[in-house]
């Protein structure tokens, strides 16, 4: 009985606070994305214009984002029947966009960032009561003109 109450309380906490934190994060991501709209990130290996390059630098941004209790539960349920786990899709979307934004913040004054790569890794997925978290690293070469 006590176990069930603890489980429901955790589930509710995860749903309410997790949802709130996610909405706040998405809002801040959207604001910063419009702020950096003039700094293109491209996956090509060549700069947009070959002339006028003053310097270049390796820039990177990383972020670790954790799942919440509610998402864990939803994922467990979906795992039984199969299908899209939307709760996880939004989590990874958040992490990728945040990592790119941090990389852009590091490249202050750059005209573009080229050869951008994204790398995703999960942290401690195999442990019994381990941390369900995803790390995303974005890196590229900032071109200064």
């Amino acid at each position: 009985m006590v176990d069930l109450i603890v489980f429901i309380v955790l589930l509710l906490l995860g749903f309410v606070i997790g949802n709130y934190l996610e909405k706040r994060h998405f809002k801040s991501i959207k604001e910063r994305e419009t702020e950096f709209i003039n700094l293109p990130t491209i996956m090509l290996k060549n700069p947009l214009r070959p002339e006028g390059i003053k310097s270049y630098d390796l820039v990177s941004g990383n972020v670790v984002i954790s799942i919440d209790y509610f998402k864990k539960f939803v994922a467990f349920l979906v795992n039984i029947f199969g299908g899209n786990i939307e709760a996880y899709e939004s989590l990874i979307d958040r992490a990728r966009r945040e990592a790119i934004l941090r990389m852009k913040a590091e490249a202050k004054g750059a005209s573009e960032i080229i050869n951008v790569r994204l790398e995703t890794s999960s942290i401690s997925q195999n442990t019994k009561n381990g941390i369900g978290a995803v790390e995303v690293l974005a890196y590229g070469t900032a071109i200064y003109r």
Partner: protein
């Protein structure tokens, strides 16, 4: 030392190749951080402790790679790539590798 993930350096010519250089670190998180992360696992959100830890570890791996390249006499590292793998529970390996070259 020029470090880039491009396959060339803009406006510069490569005079000599030295082959692959790499650096790696294996980091574990300490219990305090794990506890905090366990609490955060209920609410979701960013694990700032882990973000810092991983970026510090990555900087150290880059330093090791630079030391190796310097001992060879290179002055630039091209085509740098990062990779992360979790070895055991609670520890991850950060590996960075690239090609050491000498440019004019």
């Amino acid at each position: 030392m020029n470090i880039t993930n491009l396959e060339y350096l803009p406006n510069k010519e490569i005079v000599e190749h030295y082959g692959v250089v790499s650096g790696s670190t294996v980091r574990a998180k300490h219990i305090g951080r794990d506890l905090m992360a366990g609490i955060k696992n209920v609410f979701g959100g960013e694990l700032k402790g882990y973000t810092e830890l991983l970026s510090e570890a990555r900087d150290e791996a880059i330093d090791r790679m630079i030391n190796q390249a310097q001992s060879m006499g290179a002055n630039a590292i091209l085509n740098v790539r990062f990779s992360t793998s979790s070895i055991t529970a609670g520890a991850s390996e950060l590996y960075v590798y690239g090609t050491a070259v000498k440019v004019q």
